[in-house]
């Protein structure tokens, strides 16, 4: 290109970028690993084997295994609805789907406490039937779903919109039923976007802190997820323990980023 910035300007801008990213992203990332392994590999592994740590990991995985598949079903349904039909109220629907993105996670948790907590609207009715939602796993699952369901939907909706309906209509004219069209035509079309949405959703599900913190009750060994356990350990000054668990979450986050890059590259190739 004959027209571009002069060398010194370019160097300055690249330097600024690398400095900004270095200071605000790389530094925190590295510190997690540095602190986790501060006393060596042995103590690191030992901390991860602690019963509270293990049950936190287990709970986190359980919540993810419920929330993510549900969110996928919702995401694909909503995308199909929005992209394949004309009806009034589509923008209301899209705004509702975007809502958790603009709400503070603490408020998200609060909403559930107000709905299902002891002094709440449904509270007395639930107590009478011995159903506990707040301060137990179901509450954590619900609050997590609230915060993370947009992730799959927001990846898949623009993708489906971009791709159009021609292939689906072609399949219809060839005699395919609705389910066939979904599984044999649509899902392969959105494969990469869906995979990325699932990866992102999983990472966010396992890492959700604010909403779960409000809803959980923080009972160690029973209702703490990994992020909550990290907080507890940190506040007890168990630095290695906190960062050891945090490092697992960091690995997950990095895996998400790598997955995104791989998906981007694959998309470019096809």
């Amino acid at each position: 290109m004959t027209m571009t910035e002069s060398w010194p300007v370019r160097f300055l801008l690249i330097g600024l970028t690398l400095g900004f990213l270095g200071l605000f992203v790389v530094l925190p990332m590295l510190s997690v690993f540095v602190e986790a392994f501060a006393r060596g590999l042995g103590p690191y592994l030992a901390k991860l084997m602690q019963p509270d740590a293990l049950s936190a990991i287990q709970l986190t995985l359980l919540v993810a295994s419920i929330a993510v598949p549900l969110n996928v079903v919702f995401g694909v349904s909503a995308a199909w609805l929005i992209c394949k039909y004309r009806f009034w109220g589509k923008s209301v629907l899209v705004t509702l789907i975007d809502l958790p993105f603009s709400v503070s996670p603490v408020v998200s948790g609060l909403i559930y406490v107000l709905m299902f907590g002891r002094r709440s609207v449904l509270g007395t009715w639930l107590e009478q039937h011995d159903i506990h939602i707040i301060f137990t796993t179901p509450g954590i699952v619900l609050a997590t779903i609230f915060v993370t369901f947009p992730f799959v939907a927001r990846e898949v909706i623009p993708l489906m919109q971009d791709q159009g309906n021609d292939e689906e209509e072609a399949a219809l004219t060839l005699g395919a039923s609705g389910w066939r069209v979904l599984f044999q035509v649509t899902l392969p079309k959105i494969k990469w976007g869906l995979l990325y949405g699932i990866t992102l959703c999983t990472a966010r599900t396992m890492g959700e802190f604010g909403a779960v913190s409000v809803v959980s009750g923080h009972i160690r060994g029973r209702t703490t997820t990994m992020p909550l356990e990290v907080e507890i350990l940190y506040n007890e000054y168990d630095t290695v323990g906190a960062f050891a668990l945090a490092s697992l979450l960091m690995f997950l986050a990095l895996a998400t980023l790598i997955a995104k890059k791989i998906i981007e590259v694959s998309q470019h190739r096809t």
Binding site: F24, V106, V107, L122, F209, L257
Partner: protein, 268 residues
């Protein structure tokens, strides 16, 4: 018409009702049950006001920094080639993918007095952790991806022919940037700003550690809500939450309007 309208409508509406609408209405009901006086009292108390100042003020500053530096980062990522570019591009998303609690403890560790950055800044009298500066730093962290990722696609789509025309007409690089390129970017910059701002205002996990939660100084609104909940002051917590929700809705509307404006402006 493609089949599946009723099933997808059913699933979508049921899910949204159960997860969003019904719980939200629970909150509205609770708010309705409060007296107007109590409501006003809670949201205008001194501690609340200090929290607004920290949350909204800090977020404003952070979003401005993010908009400015986000533009630089997006520009560099789109237009230049340098070793490690793919890694840098991927890292921009880290604040989005990383659990907020992990970010929180990492940032605190770095910027506290004995931390890598904190120890270098302390002799100069700059305290980051447990001070408003630290809160702003955390807010910059969480808002980074929003600013960059809203500007990046616009830059990628940008018709370089307009730039080339400007150059052939004799404009300097800076003039071309100011007159041709920057105006196109303004709508997406504003959207990025709004999103980064909204995110920073509502953020909890990343900030709650580094802030130290000193009331009247570094306490953010989300934390104040949690404190009230722990004291079983449900009404107080709800009142503050309503303030935040209203703010969020206004911001959401603004950012959607801005995005509509961006699209319309581009189509011309």
């Amino acid at each position: 018409m493609l089949p599946g309208f009723r099933p997808t409508l059913g699933v979508t509406l049921t899910y949204l009702s159960l997860i969003v609408l019904i719980p939200l209405s629970g909150m509205v009901l609770k708010t309705a049950g409060m007296s107007w006086l109590d409501f006003w009292h809670t949201i205008s108390g001194a501690r609340a006001v200090a929290a607004y100042r920290m949350s909204f003020g800090g977020a404003l500053l952070a979003a401005l920094v993010n908009a400015g530096l986000g533009l630089v980062v997006a520009w560099v990522l789109v237009r230049y080639r340098f070793p490690g570019k793919a890694v840098a591009d991927a890292l921009v998303d880290l604040p989005l993918a990383l659990p907020t609690a992990v970010a929180g403890i990492a940032l605190t560790t770095i910027y506290s007095k004995n931390g890598w950055a904190g120890s270098r800044l302390e002799p100069h009298g700059i305290q980051v952790a447990f001070a408003p500066v630290g809160v702003t730093v955390a807010m910059i962290f969480v808002g980074l991806p929003f600013a960059v990722r809203t500007v990046q696609p616009v830059l990628l789509d940008f018709h370089t022919q307009a730039e080339e025309a400007s150059a052939t007409l004799g404009a300097t690089r800076w003039q071309t940037f100011r007159g041709v390129i920057f105006p196109t970017l303004v709508p997406s910059l504003m959207t990025g700003f709004a999103l980064a701002f909204a995110r920073a205002v509502g953020e909890y996990g990343s900030i709650v550690f580094i802030s130290g939660n000193l009331p009247m100084k570094t306490e953010i609104v989300p934390l104040l809500i949690v404190t009230k909940l722990e004291q079983y002051d449900y009404s107080g917590a709800t009142a503050l939450a309503v303030v935040m929700l209203t703010g969020s809705l206004v911001l959401l509307l603004l950012s959607n309007l801005l995005q509509g404006w961006t699209r319309r402006g581009r189509r011309g």
